[in-house]
Subunit: 340 residues, 4 copies
């Protein structure tokens, strides 16, 4: 079965996923698109044989020729479309954030529970990265004993000089590590703090960049995340888990080692596409397989909700300078891990 | 367009490519299979909705429901099936070797030239490996100046204790480097020698393992290849190009770095699937795209023929202990590089 | 001139330095020793041709055959011996800590200033480590722009099950990073906090191990130090400076890379001797040269005092769980950096 | 006991060793110097308190104030001075080559045997390198099983445009690997060949650079050495031993890893001083200790002779293009390994 996907939002990330479904992975085709900019939606559809353009996301969701929905629109609109897809009984993949606020994410959780089956996957693609999976496998195999500390760095070469706020360093960047550590350690974040190092002079004036975000896991594991969105030199994602008997770290990717002019060098990825392209491929391959099989896989509503709760509290920690606890509710049985 | 592929040969490598076409990459589906063991072919077809089983390769090639042919049968049968596909005017992907002898490969070249268009791709998947492509890109960009020397190592953990001969170290293993260096340096191999180091005691008694195979390129670049098929510790493929201004080497792949018990360690791939899985994916994605577009891409008949000529001479060098020249004929205009 | 060194304290570290002066570096010989355990002092002296044994440190300092004094006794006795050496007008090398309290260190500073010339070097050997010097050189050369953040890890394989307290993780281990960051960034530590991750089960019950120690430099550079004294797997010292334009990290040391059993591995040092042996050699070579030349070099009283102030405040941070500011006084002109 | 060293030859390497004995290592002092350029000898002596200048090497050797002799003069004069030192019954350290020809080296061997005790150490400093020792330790510990193949690269950034001949690539550069592999595998070289890759355009016109030198050890281990004396990018010494169960390779040295401008880089040594400085230190420390103790250590006459025999044959292989056998005589009991 080829899954007929409807795409809401044909911007940069939407187009990248359309390319992925069309040219890179098997199991799906794009049957319909829409966008707040209908002209753009039309241009994208023109390159997709048989794809319809719908005037609204609701129309697209209602289209009987659409088996499953991909939401890659502006974050503030995610809740509305995901709720509509749940109402329509269609599986939906929603790029992060599931909703911009914890309250919005909770409404989706409640709707999905009311619908009685899990229909939503949230776009936390790091769970599909080979490096992080190697960490998790080694951790779960007990290679370094119980985890105690984790050091992360999340560095972007740059963000646009206008429109990117300090809050977004938390909500757009650190949110990936929020989900990552929940998945890696299989437990919730219990408290968070945000530290403000000397800011780079290369960022917009009002931007506090980098930040150090601390997460205290329920078991006491302490995670520090350097989030630096104008790091300049490349897109560099680092992680080291320190356990009782050793450590596990992401290794640099392969390619070529160049020895010239007194230096032996390897490449740092240029951007998230280069670093996480294969993770996105694996994520969508997995999603389309699950849709075709009528099952659910990957991070779901509960994970999106938990990330939203942590984001809220982390923003509070940023604004107050205080350590704040994170009140993640008990995971309902409905969201027990069986499907993952 | 979904390319309907007919697969001749449903052994280990055939099944791996069937899985690839069916589950990993887009653009194709397996429409028909055959095998010298028809029961096995039937079992494989049972897992492929809509796939027919043909009693012979010729029947499969003649099937109007087959757009393109994949030859993964025993090497000695390749020539016959490739010639039949050319006769039928169908595009065909043939795993290496194109033919077990240079004479056989030449017959295919002549048939394809007579047919007037390029229909054949040969399975030299290293041309699709990200690491080798990073080497080639850096080399072509002049990062290390003109190439002078190349060091390669080609290590398998083990080969079966029976049936794997010393000749096969050349024809089955070193053949990959034969094609690789022709592609990397865009020139022919002009001479070859084979050296016999102290053999491992871990191999079958009659096996001379490892070998050092030397290739002298037309421009004088000297390539040494250690081929060691019972290296024990892993599947380890190394390469370093030494240029006038620096060197380029394959880097180790990513994953996790583990620090424990006084060691900091990374993983060596376990086998060719782990090391070259993505290269195979890219190779078949490229082939199916080309088939759908009615074009040709990748290594073709001429490359298969050149590898067969080098293999012949290299086996001669092995048996005589002498340096022997390699008489690769001039590349016909028909095989100019435009299509690649 | 061969410097005649008197050694106060012939325990493990004292004996290691005696070996260094006698067998590894030029410029000195051990002329006299003493120890709280005179029998041990006698045994050590027996292996040193011409070395006298003195009943007390004061006698040793007064010995006209002693040109310079090395204090490697128990930390609580350092102040007394350093003050006596200053009184005697003799140059003295004191292992860290200069004094167990800031008040004691300040008395030494005042005595040295009253004596009118710098006589004291403190044993912060990391300033002599090739790796840290490579970081400092690259930093000072502007290779990564202004520093913003530094990540450190300081891991010992283990500490004795009895007698090693959580406070000592600060005063004995983290003290090295206190001096290091002051030297590296050439500025004072302005505030500190201590975080308590989930403790390892491999340590003594009362020990909170690991700790995360935070230093805020005067310019705002934020330093995080994971100090883990029962890390089990080796003696592992890591550091990464994050600047506006890139990062600088300590590289693993050389030796052999072993590929076996599916792993490619390098060695993690077994202990501080293996990791910092050459730094100690360089440190003492430098000290003996300076003594012979009648000059002063390396970290001195002011650095020992500053470290003591930070240690005091850091212990306060540990006990209260609060961020505390560090009131390092203005560096007197007497301790301007000219001598270093 | 401080060994009083007489130095014959105060050129670049002589001065470097004088600095080493005077400033870096313990146990010796330079008591006398001479040079073919007596003015230079005088200038060097002026910086060495108490050092005499002798008009000839023979005078220096006869000086009763000289305990041991260091020969760092022009290679063609080594034989004469070493023979004189043996006659005088004084221990002598001779930089490589022991003699420019095998016949000359044999005369020294015979003189030393006639003298009845081992007095000569030859300057093969790689035996003192930490990296090679890590390889040897791991090899001797059986970590990778029996050795079968070894790959080496010996790259200098450049040689002077005049005066450096292709023969010298063998006699001055590859000679280090000749001794190295004899020491590493504890067996003789049985045959050698020299291959001529495409030469770099960056070298003097007549220079065939790089070369690939092959050594076949007595047990069949095959060693390939790329010697490239105008490699441009740095001084890069590589080695990998391939055993039945794994491989052992020299690791890159430590220092700093710099991440900037899309690259993660480490430093390649600039020259032999940077790469092998510590090996020279260890070598001379060891020699002075042995002299003081009246014993012999390190590579001796036999090793110098064996290297001279291999050099002769290797030059023959270079000029003829043929594989040639190496007739190293049986090692006399006098040179059994006990002293090493």
């Amino acid at each position: 079965m080829t899954v007929r996907v409807g795409v809401i939002g044909t911007g940069m990330i939407g187009q990248d996923h359309i390319r992925r479904i069309t040219e890179v992975i098997p199991g799906g085709r794009v049957a319909a698109v829409t966008d707040v900019d209908l002209e753009r939606a039309g241009q994208v559809a023109a390159g997709l044989p048989g794809a319809r353009v719908h005037p609204t996301g609701q129309d697209l969701i209602a289209d009987p020729g659409v088996d499953a929905v991909l939401v890659t629109s502006w974050g503030a609109t995610h809740e509305e479309y995901v709720l509509a897809a749940i109402s329509a009984g269609k599986r939906v993949f929603c790029e992060k954030p599931l909703a911009p606020t914890a309250a919005g994410a909770l409404r989706i959780v409640e709707a999905e529970m009311a619908a009685g089956r899990r229909l939503v996957q949230v776009g936390f693609m790091r769970r599909y990265d080979a490096g992080y999976n190697a960490l998790k496998d080694a951790l779960d195999a007990g290679q370094v004993g119980a985890p105690l500390v984790m050091h992360c760095a999340h560095r972007n070469p740059s963000v646009p000089p206008y429109g990117f706020t300090t809050d977004m360093i938390i909500s757009d960047s650190a949110v990936h590590e929020m989900d990552l550590v929940r998945w890696l350690f299989d437990e919730e974040i219990a408290a968070t703090s945000v530290l403000r190092p000397r800011p780079t002079s290369k960022a917009a004036e009002a931007l506090q960049d980098p930040l150090i975000v601390l997460f205290e896991m329920a078991s006491g594991i302490l995670v520090d995340v350097e989030v630096f969105v104008n790091a300049g030199y490349g897109y560099d994602i680092r992680a080291e888990v320190v356990g009782e008997a050793g450590t596990l770290a992401l290794a640099d990717a392969g390619g070529a080692t160049v020895s010239r002019q007194g230096q032996r060098s390897g490449r740092v990825p240029a951007d998230w596409r280069e670093r996480f392209g294969r993770a996105f491929d694996a994520e969508f391959t997995d999603w389309l397989r699950a849709v075709a099989a009528g099952t659910t896989t990957g991070p779901g509503c509960w994970d999106g909700y938990a990330a939203a709760v942590v984001t809220d509290r982390c923003l509070h920690a940023l604004s107050t300078g205080e350590r704040v606890t994170v009140p993640v509710p008990e995971r309902p049985d409905f969201y027990a891990k069986v499907d993952e």
